[in-house]
């Protein structure tokens, strides 16, 4: 049955196989890409989806002559990237059939990403798929395959913990803040000093529409720079004014170059007495700016850079542990897709049987029209045509239903033998 159905293939390169200098040559702009797909359409390629992200370039295609099509794709890549084949072929991976399907499911589920569990990849794959559908380069097989990939990615994201716990220090700080306060829009933040990481945390917090922001800095000019960089409407104070401010703030991020504790345990203790809500202290500075003993006070949650790093490490470990479950899901979904794909193999056989019956019917009708039924009026003959059509449809209904069932099981030896027998019986 195999000869009826087009094959799935893919070629690509990723951060695992190729350096950025090579990958960037294959990041085509849309104009080049349009020309690329138009050229590809003229060859043996029936369906095609191009994916390019900062970490990968991949081409999924469908063809009746898959090996020939692969060579054509590589040739087109060579032509459009302006890079000689021998310079990029060693870093190119080629996958076919089950391997190609499984690979796409892994990519969309971010198991092949640089940061396992990152959320951007599925959106990027969707964007490229949308581009392909708009340019009519997809068909039944790739449409089904990509929809399966999006379903699998969603399943992996929701049913495993692979994307649940963040890995970046800044994002972990924000997640912890949400674990303490839930709604960040009602909380106020005090940023003491300036540092790249502290500013990044503040940027993340502002994404959640954090409440009031106060910037404390030795230099007011520096504080103003941070406020304008993040586009913040912040209150700017000097370091000496911190003591009056801390009882009214919920989150304190400290990142000064001071070699002493800017916030001592006593200062925090006094501030806590004046409030009922918890307080979240993030000490990014090295040496530390906040007395570690402050972390022993109830409703005070103090995290330094090492605490945040160890959470990031643990989250990464958890994600890696979850990959086993994710791969199990991918394997199951790959099988499900292949089951559907195999069922397609019976479609041409059904079409051929129908076509063969239809030819016989038409030939016989023409013969009778010329001889024994020539006395009939056109409208009467139309009735006979309809009648024979009905008889044929009814007679073929049971065998075609049987064939469709056979199709869903067409991977088995028995199914293949039965299909072969049918081909022989009807001389198809």
């Amino acid at each position: 049955m195999k000869e009826y159905i087009p094959q799935i293939g893919m070629v690509g390169m990723s951060h695992k196989t190729a350096p950025v200098e090579t990958r960037e040559c294959f990041a085509f702009d849309t104009q080049v890409l349009e020309s690329f797909v138009n050229t590809a359409k003229k060859h043996t390629i029936q369906e095609m989806v191009y994916i390019a992200t900062c970490n990968r370039m991949e081409l999924y295609f469908v063809s009746n002559q898959i090996e020939e099509a692969t060579q054509e794709v590589i040739h087109l890549l060579e032509q459009f990237a302006g890079l000689q084949r021998e310079h990029f072929e060693p870093v190119l991976y080629k996958k076919y059939h089950k391997d190609a399907v499984r690979h796409l499911l892994c990519v969309a589920s971010s198991l092949d990403s640089m940061v396992i569990g990152e959320n951007e990849i599925v959106g990027q794959v969707k964007d490229w798929y949308r581009w392909a559908t708009l340019h009519e380069t997809t068909g039944t097989i790739l449409n089904k395959l990509f929809h399966q990939a999006f379903r699998t990615a969603k399943r992996v994201r929701t049913q495993t913990e692979i994307a649940r716990n963040p890995l970046s220090i800044a994002f972990i700080a924000v997640e912890l803040a949400k674990k303490i306060f839930e709604d960040l829009s009602k909380q106020s933040v005090l940023l003491i000093g300036a540092g790249e990481m502290a500013e990044l945390i503040l940027k993340y917090l502002t994404k959640f529409k954090i409440g009031r922001v106060t910037l404390a800095n030795r230099s007011l000019h520096n504080a103003q720079r941070i406020a304008s960089e993040i586009n913040l409407d912040a209150t700017i104070i000097t370091l000496a004014e911190i003591i009056e401010t801390i009882p009214s703030v919920d989150i304190i991020i400290s990142s000064t170059g001071a070699h002493y504790y800017v916030l001592t345990k006593d200062m925090i203790q006094e501030a806590v007495k004046k409030r009922s809500k918890p307080v979240f202290l993030i000490d990014i500075a090295v040496p530390r700016n906040i007395d570690p003993a402050a972390g022993d006070i109830h409703d005070v949650f103090l995290y330094n850079i090492d605490d945040l790093k160890s959470i990031a490490d643990e989250n990464l470990k958890n994600r890696l542990n979850e990959t086993k479950l994710a791969y199990e899901m991918i394997d199951a979904d790959t099988e499900e897709f292949l089951h559907w794909y195999e069922s397609l193999q019976i479609v041409p056989l059904i079409a051929k049987i129908k076509e063969s019956f239809e030819t016989i019917r038409n030939d016989e009708l023409k013969k009778y029209r010329r001889r024994k039924l020539k006395h009939l009026k056109d409208e009467d003959f139309t009735i006979i045509e309809e009648l024979t059509q009905q008889i044929m449809t009814k007679m073929l209904h049971i065998p075609i239903t049987y064939l469709k069932e056979l199709g869903t099981n067409s991977n088995s030896k028995e199914a293949k033998e039965k299909a072969k027998l049918l081909q022989e019986i009807f001389k198809l």
Binding site: E161, F181, E182, P278, H298
Partner: protein, 272 residues
């Protein structure tokens, strides 16, 4: 009788699922817990139908009914959580409330056939008084659960535990909000329960108090809940200390309440 054993069995299974839903972090366990709690409610209603309190024009409340009502209200509250604004936090709360309800259901087994009862004649105000007081008690139960969770989350955050574990619990703000919510509702029901009790006493005996141990206990419980509510309302101390106070108060009151119903066998307001 057999239905009560089925109920206890269902509570044990639901408790196991509620704890597993925290431990394994799989939505399947949460769904199973919700389903089991729905079945438990049906079983409880069947038990309630089979053990009426109003027989031959007289209200006769057995000691088993006391446990039954607490379990019923706890079940109703956990189901309410599943369909209300607290749905996201159902998992962690159910892991505390359901095992506690299971423990009470096991204790109730010892009193299924107990002849001890309170006869209230045909005065239905007494039933309202009991229902309101028990609702107040159950909401205090909820305040206790949220306080326990507050302490757990607070410890985990201070210990810098894995986010995988912390993420399974509600945020501290949500927990303190629920403590305040249940304390205020508990105070409301207790207050009305007491007022109705006083009206009833005055109607029946022309007196507003008999000074019975349970009456004194009721006033003590009301005072404690009132103080806790004041603390939470006016933010007199930190949420951490409010949680500690709620836990300690609840445990003392619960033990004394349970014990008073079991130990006191004579006088007004007791199961004789």
């Amino acid at each position: 009788m057999i239905v009560i054993y089925i109920l206890v069995f269902l509570f044990i299974v639901a408790s196991a699922y509620s704890i597993l839903s925290i431990h394994k972090d799989l939505p399947l366990y949460v769904t199973a817990t919700k389903l089991l709690m729905s079945i438990i409610l049906i079983v409880l209603l069947v038990i309630g139908y089979c053990m009426p309190v109003y027989i031959a024009g007289v209200y006769k409340i057995h000691i088993f009914h006391f446990f039954y009502l607490i379990i019923l209200f706890l079940t109703l509250f956990t189901l309410y959580m599943a369909v209300s604004q607290w749905n996201n936090d159902y998992r962690s709360f159910s892991a505390i409330l359901i095992p506690l309800a299971a423990i009470i259901s096991i204790i109730s087994l010892f009193f299924i056939n107990s002849p001890r009862h309170m006869t209230i004649g045909h005065n239905s105000i007494m039933v309202i008084h009991i229902v309101l007081a028990l609702l107040g008690e159950v909401l205090f139960f909820v305040a206790f659960a949220s306080s326990v969770l507050y302490i757990i989350v607070s410890w985990q955050l201070q210990k810098k535990s894995s986010m995988k574990f912390i993420n399974r619990f509600p945020s501290l703000t949500v927990l303190s909000k629920l403590t305040s919510f249940s304390l205020s509702r508990s105070l409301f029901f207790f207050t009305f329960g007491i007022i109705i009790g006083i009206i009833m006493l005055f109607q029946l005996y022309g007196n507003i108090s008999f000074g019975s141990p349970k009456e004194i206990l009721m006033y003590a419980a009301w005072s404690i809940i009132f103080i806790l509510w004041l603390i939470s309302r006016w933010h007199i101390t930190s949420n951490y200390y409010l949680s500690i106070m709620t836990i300690v108060s609840f445990l003392i009151l619960m033990i004394v309440f349970m014990a008073s119903n079991v130990v006191i066998t004579s006088g007004f307001h007791s199961f004789r």
